[in-house]
């Protein structure tokens, strides 16, 4: 087989892009570890940029890439369930923090929607894009469903969700350190609410307690946003 035909064959098999995804991740995670988990060296962002550059350089479309990468993507589901184990380990702590969580949940959820739509509106973003950005702090699957229901563009929502995740994961540690916030339950809850799973992944690198509360915040914010978003959007942009 000529090198060209070998490449044509390999570049369309799941094996090739699955391997590339894992290798890029290993390099990215190694960079993050060498930086002593500096928040600016975000391994998700690094790995995304590396893989995307390779796709661009080889002229590979996303569908071909995803045929391989879907095996990694699939693990997101069981990994979310696995958060139940640290949740169980900290069950007593979770129970003691029920009231702070409920109040922070409602306030945070509302802030996430109103501030995103409000700022974008002031900057002249058109309505379908406003709807698409509204659920940006919610975990991708739910955010896309909400966007679809309300006349947004689900795939654009997915992109906004991923970008929001990375922004929060990069911002959270320097921000809360600068403000001298030492309650890791509160810090974790905030990053899980604002930045869903990518926020949880960051919290896991910082503190097990923060990760537990980030997980709870992600789950509860998906529920609350799905319930309040239609009414909040109507109040902000007047129907849809």
């Amino acid at each position: 087989m000529s090198p060209f035909r070998l490449w044509v064959y390999l570049s369309t098999t799941p094996l090739f892009w699955l391997t590339v995804t894992l290798l890029c991740w290993l390099v990215a995670d190694d960079c993050a570890r060498r930086s002593k988990r500096n928040p600016l060296v975000n391994p998700v962002l690094l790995a995304i940029v590396m893989v995307a550059s390779l796709l661009y350089a080889t002229g590979t479309d996303y569908q071909t890439y995803f045929n391989g990468a879907q095996f990694v993507h699939f693990i997101l589901g069981p990994a979310t369930v696995a958060l139940g184990v640290p949740f169980y380990r900290n069950f007593g702590l979770v129970r003691r923090n029920v009231w702070p969580m409920l109040v922070a949940l409602l306030g945070g959820s509302l802030t996430a929607i109103v501030s995103a739509v409000g700022i974008a509106m002031l900057m002249g973003v058109p309505q379908p894009v406003l709807v698409s950005i509204a659920p940006k702090s919610v975990t991708a699957g739910v955010a896309m469903a909400i966007s679809q229901d309300l006349g947004g563009i689900p795939s654009l929502t997915a992109a906004m969700v991923m970008v929001t995740g990375v922004i929060g994961a990069v911002m959270v540690t320097p921000l809360f350190n600068a403000l001298k916030i030492k309650d890791f339950a509160a810090r974790g809850f905030a990053v899980g609410l604002a930045s869903h799973g990518i926020g949880i992944a960051r919290a896991l690198n910082v503190s097990p307690v923060a990760a537990v509360f980030a997980g709870i915040a992600m789950g509860m914010n998906a529920l609350v946003t799905a319930l309040i978003l239609p009414a909040v959007l109507k109040a902000l942009i007047g129907g849809h």
Binding site: L76, G77, Y88, G108, A120, A159
Partner: protein, 128 residues
């Protein structure tokens, strides 16, 4: 290892079934998480186990292993953003400002509300 992974998938499957049949606005895996916690609480009553036993169990090892690399599983979806660069491009600056500003505000409001209620109830900070 297979036993632990099968348990995670089983909880997720039950979560998906409940979420879809009852039309709940919660993702299946999040309901699956709740089922796993409920299952652990129930099992501990029925046949008590301690934290070390949980960590050493099939479930504990798979869960800790998967969570240790949680960020990896976001890479394929993240690469998908590349497809929408054109769509984002037209309003790129406005969207960037909205996302950064909103994430900052959300983090601040959430963390301060959480802390304010805790102080109001006379609770101590939680260490890492």
């Amino acid at each position: 290892m297979i036993r632990g992974f099968a348990l995670l998938l089983f909880c997720q499957l039950m979560g998906e079934i409940c979420a879809r049949t009852l039309n709940m606005p919660v993702p299946g895996p999040v309901l699956g998480l709740a089922f796993l916690v409920a299952g652990l609480l129930g099992w501990n009553r029925f046949r008590p186990f301690n934290a070390a036993q949980l960590t050493a169990s099939d479930l504990g090892r798979v869960a800790d292993g998967v969570l240790g690399n949680l960020a990896l599983f976001f890479v394929p979806a993240g690469v998908g953003v590349v497809q929408y660069l054109g769509l984002i491009g037209a309003h790129g600056l406005a969207l960037a400002i909205a996302l950064i500003g909103s994430t900052l505000l959300t983090l601040l409001v959430t963390v301060y509300l959480f802390i304010a209620v805790k102080r109001g109830l006379g609770m101590e900070d939680n260490a890492p």
